[in-house]
Symmetry: D2
Subunit: 390 residues, 4 copies
């Protein structure tokens, strides 16, 4: 086999020249002639730490939905929500939900828990030694916490959960991470804490910094139960008249459809008994520089609704593992930062506000699609607004 023809790199690699050089290389190697990828509006120097082998940008269209009326603890008032997507009808559907929610008095949002974790595993001669190690961890938590936090300014180690299995002890180091999403921060802090632990504690046979119990970028029951990132609840009560007028559906029919969806979801073994929260999550993540791979876990949702005595419809959605940041990652890139600024969410002290806006947006979409399915408008909307080319 001949040697691989590798992608060219320059000494000064975060430049337009380097990007052009690589695009030219690709044109030569693939026969394609990309014209748009290389057209971006900023100095690539800002990308260091976000990408390697940079060639240009994907231009993902952004639509605006709103006003979204939020009654949160961190997000107050109306917001215009930038959604980056290529799915026709999506922005229109969220917009319709927001119109309904505005008329209904807005969405109440609450961040009920938060925790970002790294989940190392330690192996021993037998389960008995693993259990003894767990007891030692409990006793020495303060020292471990100090060690972990020595590597970070904003991370705080809240607790270490223990999950024994076989001759291993699996741990979840649960942190709060300020306005960062915190995956790297928690990796680094946990690695440091574990180095200290390994120096102190004899008899550790195996150590893995991660062994599938943080389940980063995956959907899991442990995160539905125990939170990853932010756990946010969005709630609203929709008067029957508004549902009929704006959604062309009655609360009674929507509630009944919900029951059948719950049953279907139980059959399916689904991580989300709602309608399509991933749409809002993905579109907001792409717009605001979140890590879109986290859609995997942030797409989990628990929907609970109630048909109230006066005929109105209480609707709530709980997102148990919403991974968001207002600093770090891609949040500071030019268009991404601007989208955050549109929401008043750029920079420190804003992450819960962003979490609340995401959850409120999700709720708007749940109501709109939930009604469309009942009112037989779903396919028609996609025909009118989307690229149906059956």
């Amino acid at each position: 086999m001949s040697a691989p023809v590798t992608v060219p790199r320059l000494d000064d690699d975060y430049t337009s020249a380097a990007a052009r050089r690589r695009l030219a290389f690709l044109a030569r190697e693939t026969g394609a002639s990309p014209e748009h990828i290389g057209r971006f509006s900023f100095d690539p120097a800002v990308l260091e730490g976000n990408i390697e082998n940079f060639i240009g940008v994907a231009q993902v269209p952004i639509g605006i939905a709103g006003p979204l009326l939020v009654d949160g603890e961190h997000a107050h008032g109306t917001f215009y929500v930038p959604l980056a997507t290529t799915e026709g009808a999506l922005v229109a559907s969220y917009n319709r939900g927001m119109k309904l929610l505005y008329a209904a008095g807005g969405v109440r949002t609450t961040v009920v828990a938060e925790a970002m974790q790294r989940a190392p595993a330690f192996g021993f001669d037998s389960a008995r030694e693993a259990r003894a190690f767990g007891d030692w961890l409990t006793v020495n938590f303060a020292d471990i916490k100090a060690e972990a936090e020595a590597s970070t300014h904003v991370g705080r180690l809240h607790d270490i959960e223990q999950f024994p299995a076989s001759r291993f002890l699996f741990l979840r180091f649960n942190y709060t991470t300020g306005d960062a999403a915190g995956q790297n921060l928690t990796s680094k802090a946990t690695l440091r804490a574990c180095a200290w632990i390994r120096a102190q504690y004899p008899g550790i046979r195996d150590f893995y910094l991660e062994a599938n119990l943080a389940t980063d970028k995956k959907s899991s029951q442990v995160n539905v139960l125990r939170t990853r990132g932010k756990r946010v609840v969005a709630e609203a009560t929709i008067p029957a008249g508004l549902a009929r007028e704006i959604l062309h559906a009655t609360p009674g029919r929507m509630f009944r459809a919900r029951q059948v969806s719950n049953l279907g979801g139980q059959l399916a073994g689904v991580n989300n008994n709602g309608n399509h929260s991933a749409n809002a999550v993905a579109a907001l993540f792409a717009a605001t520089g979140q890590d879109i791979a986290n859609v995997a876990e942030s797409s989990a949702a628990l929907v609970h609704t109630e048909l109230l005595a006066d005929g109105s419809y209480y609707y709530s959605v709980t997102i148990p593992a919403l991974i968001v940041a207002t600093c770090g990652g891609g949040t500071g890139l030019p268009t991404q930062r601007e989208c955050l600024e549109l929401l008043g969410c750029y920079g420190s002290g804003r992450v819960r506000k962003l979490a609340e806006i995401v959850a409120a947006t999700v709720l708007a979409g749940e109501l709109s699609l939930g009604a469309a399915v009942v009112a037989d408008e779903w396919v028609a909307a996609h025909d009118r607004l989307g690229r149906n080319r059956p």
Copy 2:
């Protein structure tokens, strides 16, 4: 409550003028002054059917990894893979995995199944009538198929799976959908088929076009079992020497870590026993105009590895629900189309090729991160290449 201040729309809404008008509106309402969002390189007229209330684009940086050597049925030879992401170290990590796979002779890829579905539910007086309806469906499948396919040029109804529960019959209409992802196509075809069914069959009390058994944009066991989109397997065998040289890890240690991850994943109730397939999936989806909300289900993965007698390492990843398209949706937008063209995947007859490339890319990342965890290089790599600001 005062009337909502709605986002302005123009008669000719897919224009730069309309986008600027909305950006100005947003600047006024939010106090922000976005400069980059409005800078895109194409005529917004192309966006009709992909977005509403367009204001501009998110510029998501693209890095190139490769060459990726693929021994597929549809993808042959080397590919340079565009990954749109803001996570530092990600492209570098995939690149390392691809280097290893090149040296090891490449990745064997196979699309082992495909099915896109819409999953309606029908309700009856009791379970007995629901069962009788199921029998009727079986007998009348040919007519139902004809009716469904009358609404589509490319969709083919393969079968209808039945899942009885309570007094409902849940169905999965399984289609092949050509080079489209096919969610809208299957909705429309199933809606038409169900209209015909409802006209023919008396005694249907309830009908929902969807009731959480297709689990679009969600992770579910039913799709792990029964496929959604493409079910793709990527396989490679890594000689021990290469693993040591390029990954700084031995197959033995990597295999052992895999076992512990399997155990951890079983505890967690995770939809993916591997390392981080969502990273490749999300980055390729964003680059090539796929619907990034589908990361929710396309992030599921089954990893199976074997330590072979000669010390080499067989590694396979099965993606049971990979939702990809090479036409329709966002695939025709300027930068997205160019990314597909870089892979030779734009247009009809290419969707399995794209699926194979995605799976091969996933495999590269599994090996690279799997080794990094074992070789204690993971955190160091993020420190060197990422935005760790602890």
Copy 3:
């Protein structure tokens, strides 16, 4: 280590003498002096094929609940249900539910599907060969079916489901098995069919007769979706007045509690959103000679309820994997057979009747406990009737 002191066996081992010999051995080895275990009412000769190293019997008390009014396709009229249990209050609770159901006009029961399976796995060089093998299986189904059925009088191979993963093809051979539970029958038939397949088809690297996809004696999503044993639905509609009178709870309150239980169950990742179907299943299994280890999968249940316009309460329970038999296994043993005879369920042609009675009994318990939780009577009932020794 000294040689193990093994349990004595006699040439004629299924005799009272052999049992006494072993009891004497145990008394000597353990110091215990069992008096009751050895007191059984039948000739141990009947036990051949059911037990080895027989020493006597566990006497499990049986209580009678009823009359249970069933409107099934196989079970018609009233039944008195023998429940073998040691949990105080259990029989009383089921009895209360049956009283309610009698007054409400009875339980409608339907066996909506049935399938018993063995699930072999075949391994190949790569996924591609596994897929080709799957195609071959489809083409050769008639021959495989003939081969499988040649080993059995009552088993019928209905279909073979394929689940590809990695370089393996996992199969579910789905059978109907007459009045037997059928695990052994399907093992034998599938083993024979697979021997034929292996002789015909070249290139099979690995073969396992079972690889965790039949999930015998385990709870799994695949069986919730695809049925194992019988899939049975029990339904009833309870007028509000009867609920209040007999259960001291209103449908409205019971329905509301159901919603909260559904939400809790989604958090928990539970295989059963109902109350306690395992109690009825286990007690009937123990009484009637079913394999009580099958409680593992037969305890799965899907509960769906509706609050009807007239205030009455529609309640349904779907048991997706009920493993029952009216011949074979323990069904012919003296007390077990008598319990089946009390239900008119002993012998051939009765297995669906038994399945219906089990499901109807489950429904009685769901209603009774569901109401007790709401009416705050649950703990009080256990205090009055059970062995609460806090």
Copy 4:
């Protein structure tokens, strides 16, 4: 509808006369003539608190497997294990596994965690009030604990886990319960604690003593993660020579089959990646007076094995939710107590010993069946020892 013909009760209901009266009633109503059910060896007076409407007993045959060599913290030495079952070949298979384990030096057993729970749910006006309630619970834990423990001599409230969702706070009150299984004890203690909480804390809209997060008698992920009853690990290392000699299988082949089973189990969404732990659990539960409905959750298992450098086979099984008791429930009934006495496990201070013996027995069966599948002996054994009547 005519009035139901109810089962007769006597003033002195726990007598042989009452049982005979009911049997006569059943004979009259059903036409059956049971002769064996009514033949039991004890005074029915002992059954008060265990059964209602007593008519007699199910005689479930018991076989003895052993000697089982256990190296536990509570169980030391050899045990002869009574297994109540009607499945032929089962005792023989466990016996074979025990023979192997004896030769291999025995089973190491460890109870790594224990917790019995009741899981109430509290509802509020919105998620925000639910979160505030959670904070209040944390602050007032000492008082709540005192209140809960006031209702019990042996129960100790260890902690209260919080799981927020929608406008509810779901709780798990985790107790240790001495030698009782503890479901009733924890119900009563939690009910008392909750009565105190409801008197103290204003604004509680809904209260349910249970809402599907304890998942009693069901299989759930929460209990796999967080333990219900005892969490026990059994471990052994099998030299290759012994495996070949006694099991007719090599560790290498058994390990490989294990890998394929893990993959199959991941596809299936199973609660147990092992072979058949429910068989041991059910047979021991029936023999020793445990609540056999708890097989539902006690059948969950995590199997982790390792192929060691010297060719021997490390095998471990973790049972995360083993519900056992050595007092209360059915443990004091005549035959059940005798079975406990055979194991030296009757009465107080023995429950961990029993848990260890159950886990060690499970391990014996895992090895034996795991080898039989590999050695193609499985079906043959059932043919020889079971009631195969295909």
